[in-house]
């Protein structure tokens, strides 16, 4: 109940910041721009539009996730509004879950606006496929995961630092797929151990990228999409639970 109230309140406030809409509009402009490429692409404007559209949605969703995730909690701590809230009968984990809910709703809103806009443009061109929706759905879950990481960081760092760290995780998260290969080559047992540890500890964000196959109309097994969503939710839950534990013993001075 409190979680919902806090979440909706923060969501409402986030929705009033115009920057998010500007981003969504930029994304749609990018997609529309891609359709102008038609003449240049040797009959590949369909693929190009899908690629550019999905990449745009991914980029802006991730940007929104990092931005919102790293400010939604940090801003309340920095501006001390959290003190007013926690001086009321609100538990710390309720506050945290509420803010996560707000971030999730905001990302959902932005991804949905861009996704629907994209599908409309693609449908007008007559190249829409159902698989494109799957591509967008996984982008959403990647963004949720990154938001939860940003929230985790913002329980001990300022918003600015949290966003930088989350971005670093984003970069490494898209590179972890190289780890098993590197680990195989490493002779040292210790290196192997830490390599494997890192492989499972860092989020494997490449899982969420089925944009290539989707743009090429390749078959992506539904079971994999399901497993990736489970993975995303699992990882996000871990981050939020860890944040709650940090929060529990945190002083709001």
């Amino acid at each position: 109940m409190n979680i919902w109230t806090i979440g909706v309140n923060s969501f409402k406030r986030l929705m009033r910041s115009k920057i998010l809409y500007v981003m969504a509009v930029f994304c749609l402009i990018t997609i529309a721009y891609a359709s102008l490429y038609g003449t240049l692409t040797a009959g590949q404007e369909g693929k190009l539009m899908k690629d550019v559209g999905l990449a745009g949605i991914a980029a802006f969703s991730i940007l929104v996730a990092i931005l919102v995730g790293s400010t939604v909690v940090a801003k309340e701590i920095e501006s001390k509004t959290i003190q007013i809230l926690l001086a009321k009968p609100v538990k710390k984990h309720e506050f945290l879950l509420g803010e996560f809910l707000a971030a999730a709703l905001t990302i959902l809103m932005m991804t949905a606006i861009m996704g629907v806009g994209f599908l409309i443009i693609v449908a007008i061109k007559g190249i829409a496929t159902a698989a494109l929706v799957n591509g967008v759905v996984l982008v959403f879950f990647e963004a949720i995961l990154l938001a939860s990481i940003a929230i985790f960081f913002s329980t001990f760092f300022s918003g600015m630092v949290a966003s930088v760290f989350t971005f670093i995780i984003f970069v490494f998260g898209h590179l972890t797929y190289q780890l098993p290969f590197l680990v195989q080559r490493a002779g040292n047992v210790v290196v192997k151990f830490f390599g494997n540890l890192l492989y499972f500890a860092l989020p494997n964000l490449q899982y969420f990228n089925i944009r290539g196959p989707v743009a090429h109309n390749l078959n992506v097994p539904g079971s994999m999409i399901f497993a990736v969503i489970v993975y995303g939710l699992l990882y996000s839950s871990i981050m939020i639970l860890a944040s709650a534990l940090v929060f529990k013993s945190k002083d709001f001075a």
């Binding site: 309140n9 009033r16 001390k80 509004t81 926690l86 538990k91 002083d251 709001f252």
Partner: protein, 314 residues
């Protein structure tokens, strides 16, 4: 204990990374209900730390605290508390009405009651006209008022106000004082932190003085400031008489052609008055002397001069 709004037992707080200095050192505080309790002290004395400990925003290093008869760590106890932080910053994208409504929801106040309550509070703090205005456009005084309204949304029994008056212009201060006295009239206990002594003197029943984390003194304001000293002024006294009188009084000073005697005790006053008459002088007035809070405060914290913004050396 139920007649106490606040009770602390050896409450101590050492901030992490604070080089071990005690922000609050073995505080033993008892605040009775239905009072305006003024919590005084120079900056960094530990006033805000005390409030935060009482609201469970920070955890004590040692010691215990109760508010309204319950341990502060119980979430439920905060149903009956109100809090206005120092230099409040609020959700600046919300309007005054939305802001209060949100906190109403936090207390699970049903919709209809919430609307009434918000209306009532906006009237109390005089912001009915600005209800739709976004908080970003609010002046400091208006923010302070909406902050008080926010602290009252749940009809709290005990309200913490951290420096509610500091930094406001005389008009703003008066408005806040009026609101506080209205709230007090409803039988609520107010715990009031300030270093503006004048306002405390005007409003508070009880005070406590905190300095460098330690409670120096606490008690009823009237009793603390009351002295037995009497001030007598007279004229027409000559040198011989003055020499005689000087031995009997605490202090003697001349103001133009008047002489003012500070007499230690009321019992001595009669004798002094008799002596004045005896030497042919004329008594002009006898006034029981009351210490100003400022003098009392300075004496308590052991300083010559009081500068509110003086920071403790770190």
């Amino acid at each position: 204990m139920t007649s106490l709004a606040i009770k602390t037992e050896n409450l101590t707080k050492v901030y992490r990374g604070g080089r071990g200095t005690k922000a609050l050192d073995n505080l033993n505080l008892e605040v009775p209900v239905n009072q305006i309790y003024g919590f005084l002290g120079p900056n960094a004395a530990g006033k805000t730390t005390t409030i935060k400990l009482l609201l469970n925003l920070i955890a004590p290093t040692s010691g215990r605290a109760w508010v309204l008869g319950k341990e502060v760590s119980e979430t439920d106890v905060r149903k009956d508390l109100g809090f206005l932080p120092e230099n409040p910053y609020f959700y600046e994208d919300l309007s005054a009405e939305e802001f209060l409504d949100f906190f109403g929801k936090i207390f699970h106040i049903p919709r209809r009651d919430r609307v009434n309550k918000v209306e009532q509070l906006l009237t109390l703090v005089g912001l009915t006209e600005e209800r739709k205005q976004i908080l970003r456009r609010f002046s400091r005084g208006m923010l302070q008022r909406i902050g008080i309204a926010q602290a009252l949304i749940n009809d709290p029994k005990l309200i913490f106000l951290d420096e509610p008056i500091t930094g406001l212009d005389p008009m703003g201060r008066k408005e806040i004082r009026n609101i506080i006295s209205k709230v007090r009239a409803e039988g609520k206990t107010i715990f009031f932190c300030s270093h503006v002594l004048h306002d405390v003197e005007l409003m508070c029943d009880h005070i406590g003085i905190l300095c460098e984390g330690r409670l120096i003194t606490t008690g009823k304001l009237d009793e603390l400031l009351a002295t037995k000293e009497v001030e007598i002024s007279a004229e027409g006294l000559r040198g011989e008489a003055l020499a005689k009188l000087e031995g009997r009084v605490k202090k003697l000073r001349k103001e133009e052609n008047r002489i003012i005697f500070d007499v230690e005790e009321e019992a001595l006053a009669d004798e002094v008055v008799g002596l004045i008459k005896h030497y042919g002088g004329k008594r002009l007035s006898i006034v029981p002397k009351k210490e100003s809070l400022e003098d009392f405060f300075l004496k308590a914290i052991g300083r010559e001069e009081y500068k509110p913004d003086e920071r403790r050396e770190k």
